[in-house]
């Protein structure tokens, strides 16, 4: 059985991971085929009666109507696309940039490392949200601009993770051996180092999907979302400005719950992956190992004798 199968088997044995996977599938379905089944098309003009505005839920509108008389459920379904696109695309680019920078800094060391790490230090020390607010409000609102600022601030985490892994791996014997046999830098990196780091990069990227989704919804809530697209953060922006005084919970709660739902699902998956893949979390000298196995299935415990109990 290869490592990938092993990880997958251990992964699906974790209840939290399964719950997360199920929750995420629901949202993906909603984003992909949801709009075909949505009861109304939010982009269509509707004739609104005064009584339709912020009307509470009824048989035709299961989640009531918003401040423009539109069906909240349909808005919610359409909004799933923006969140998922921003989440996945941002995480993908953060992963790409972070991996390249981390590999370069860790492998080549010296001046390359210094320059790259000072840049990540700089980006890590600047407060995220104020920087995003300033850039987007100066540059203008748009989906790709939002993705750009999220990536700008998020790749640093992957870069640091990859760098620290590469530094320890490149001193290992099989890498030394490959080098002594004349393997090129590119070959050593792609054949010997990258495969070792890839699982952790993947876990980090999964977690980054969730923080990207939250970042997008925060920007949208603060009024800097893409004005041409329906997103959950934007719905909350409207709801907070116009519906909170009337306590229209049917407009306020669903988009927020949707954001929590999707990011929680991703965090559950990412957390399970990280626990499986991070070797540092495996041993624990103070506790009864049988108990650990209960929450960490794949760990072969090295220290089975223990009198201390948790």
């Amino acid at each position: 059985m290869n490592t990938k199968d092993k990880i997958w088997r251990a992964f699906i044995r974790k209840p939290m991971a399964l719950v997360g996977l199920g929750m995420l599938l629901v949202v993906i379905l909603m984003a992909v085929i949801g709009p075909f089944f949505a009861p109304y098309d939010p982009n269509q003009r509707v004739d609104v009666q005064p009584s339709d505005i912020l009307a509470p839920p009824d048989a035709q509108h299961w989640l009531g109507r918003d401040d423009a008389g539109k069906d909240v459920l349909s808005l919610l379904i359409y909004g799933a696309r923006v969140s998922l696109i921003v989440g996945f695309v941002s995480a993908f680019f953060s992963m790409l940039i972070g991996t390249v920078v981390g590999l370069a800094a860790g492998y080549f060391g010296g001046r390359v490392n210094n320059i790259l790490m000072r840049i990540t230090d700089f980006l890590m020390v600047i407060p995220d949200l104020p920087l995003m607010l300033v850039i987007v409000s100066v540059w203008g609102r748009g989906l790709w601009k939002i993705i750009f600022v999220i990536v700008l601030l998020h790749w640093t985490y992957t870069a640091r993770l990859v760098r620290s892994q590469v530094i320890s791996i490149k001193e290992r014997q099989y890498v030394m051996r490959a080098r002594s046999m004349g393997a090129s830098d590119v070959r050593i990196i792609t054949k010997h180092i990258l495969p070792q780091v890839l699982p952790l990069i993947f876990a980090q990227a999964v977690l980054d999907i969730s923080s990207s989704i939250i970042a997008e919804s925060t920007l949208s809530f603060l009024g800097l979302g893409d004005p041409t697209l329906i997103s959950w953060g934007m719905m909350l922006n409207f709801a907070f400005e116009r519906a909170i005084s009337r306590m229209a919970w049917w407009f306020l709660l669903p988009p927020g719950i949707a954001i929590v739902w999707v990011s929680l699902s991703i965090i559950l998956i990412g957390n399970a992956l990280e626990e499986l893949l991070n070797p540092r979390l495996k041993t624990h000298h103070l506790f009864d190992p049988r108990r650990m196995i209960a929450i960490q299935a794949p760990v072969e415990s090295a220290h089975s004798e223990s009198e201390a109990t948790g």
Binding site: R118, D121, F122, M124, V125, I126, P127, D128, L129, P130, L131, L133, V134, I135, S137, V138, G140, S210, I214, S217, T218, F221, L222, G223, L224, L236, F240, I244, M247, W249, L252, L253, G256, I259, V260, S263, L264, I267, L268, N271, R280, L281, K282, T283, H284, H285, L286, F287, R291, M292, A294, I295, H303, A308, T309, G310
Partner: protein, 337 residues
């Protein structure tokens, strides 16, 4: 590493970062699409002469980086007669420009607002650290127990929760028990003494609870994994072999080593806390820097936006430097002389 070298390195980095922020701040607002004068002048009927006057007043008639014309006649001093130099000179004088929205001095506005944010962030962070570190130790100590799982779930849940949405939920749930917006009830003045301060405390409850609960989990999760990680080190096994009991090992070996990364983490999360304050202040109309930033974004009030950004970034950089200094004192690996 010698403590002095370590500190010098950190101070040097902080200074470079500060310079970078100042330059970035200048640069960003110069690449604004369109003419900055058009942003100030809302009326199209303004004459050419008046526009030129404004341009001159704001120093916008000068070149951005380098004044070649003046350099040829006046030498280096003339060459530096630029927008960038003017920006730096104004900055050292504490002059951050004038708000587009209400024509007030930006630095005056900031001065009036900064302590309100400090109260909120300070109180929220201290509570979050105390409760979070405590719960994190508890979770690591009872790792695998039901309590640990429950705390972990709470942690993951708040991690998935956008700060502003949690604030909105609390706002809806509070149902008039606590004031939902502002800092003080209308009509109360500082001269009212105790009553005034109690009223502010009353208004502080919801925003502080929001910040505390959300940031507490962050510290809790980090503290938990930090302690768990330390417990997997070989020196814990050695301590056990020496015959120390679990509690002694935990107190003397695990906690000490787990607390160290916390100092760095607390400093690093300060940037997030600032972001949280922007959201919380927006939701609860708390009249601090965060709310100011939100309003500036709404009104496209660039001088204010620039000023708040600069102040927040500089404060976080300095706070990080202080944390690094604290780290140097606490970490035995950084040797004093």
């Amino acid at each position: 590493m010698q403590r002095r070298d370590y500190l010098l390195k950190k101070i040097f980095f902080a200074i470079v970062t500060l310079i970078a922020v100042v330059v970035f701040n200048f640069f960003l607002f110069r690449i604004l699409p369109g003419d900055p004068v058009k942003l100030i002048i809302h009326s199209p009927r303004m004459t050419k002469e008046a526009q030129a006057k404004i341009r001159q007043n704001f120093g916008l008639d000068k070149p951005v980086w380098w004044n070649q014309e003046e350099f040829l006649t006046d030498g280096l001093v003339g060459g530096l007669d630029t927008q960038f130099t003017a920006y730096l000179v104004n900055l050292t004088k504490g002059d951050l420009g004038i708000s587009f929205a209400n024509r007030q001095d930006v630095s005056e506005i900031l001065k009036e607002r900064v302590w309100k944010t400090l109260i909120l962030i300070g109180l929220g962070t201290v509570l979050a650290i105390l409760i979070g570190v405590g719960l994190g130790m508890l979770a690591a100590w009872r790792r695998g127990s039901r309590l640990d799982t429950a705390l972990l779930l709470i942690g993951l849940f708040t991690w998935a929760m956008p700060t502003f949405f949690f604030g909105i939920i609390l706002l809806m749930l509070s149902g008039g028990i606590f004031p939902i917006g502002g800092m003080v009830s209308p009509g109360l003045k500082p001269e009212d003494g105790l009553k005034y301060w109690l009223d502010i405390g009353h208004h502080l409850v919801l925003p502080t609870v929001t910040l505390t609960i959300l940031y507490m989990s962050e510290y809790m999760l980090i503290m938990r994994s930090s302690v768990v990680e330390v417990l997997s080190e070989d020196f814990i096994l050695t301590a056990k072999a020496k015959g120390l009991n679990a509690f002694q090992i935990f107190r003397d070996h695990a906690l000490k080593n787990a607390m160290l990364p916390m100092v760095t983490i607390i400093a690093l999360t300060l940037g997030y806390t600032v972001g949280g304050a922007i959201q919380v202040e927006t939701v609860f109309s708390w009249p601090g820097l965060g709310r100011l930033m939100f309003e500036a974004v709404q009104k496209r009030d660039y001088p204010v936006l620039q000023g708040v950004f600069l102040l927040l970034a500089v404060s976080v950089i300095i706070a990080n430097l202080l944390a690094d200094m604290l780290y140097a004192v606490l970490d035995p690996r950084v040797k004093p002389e």
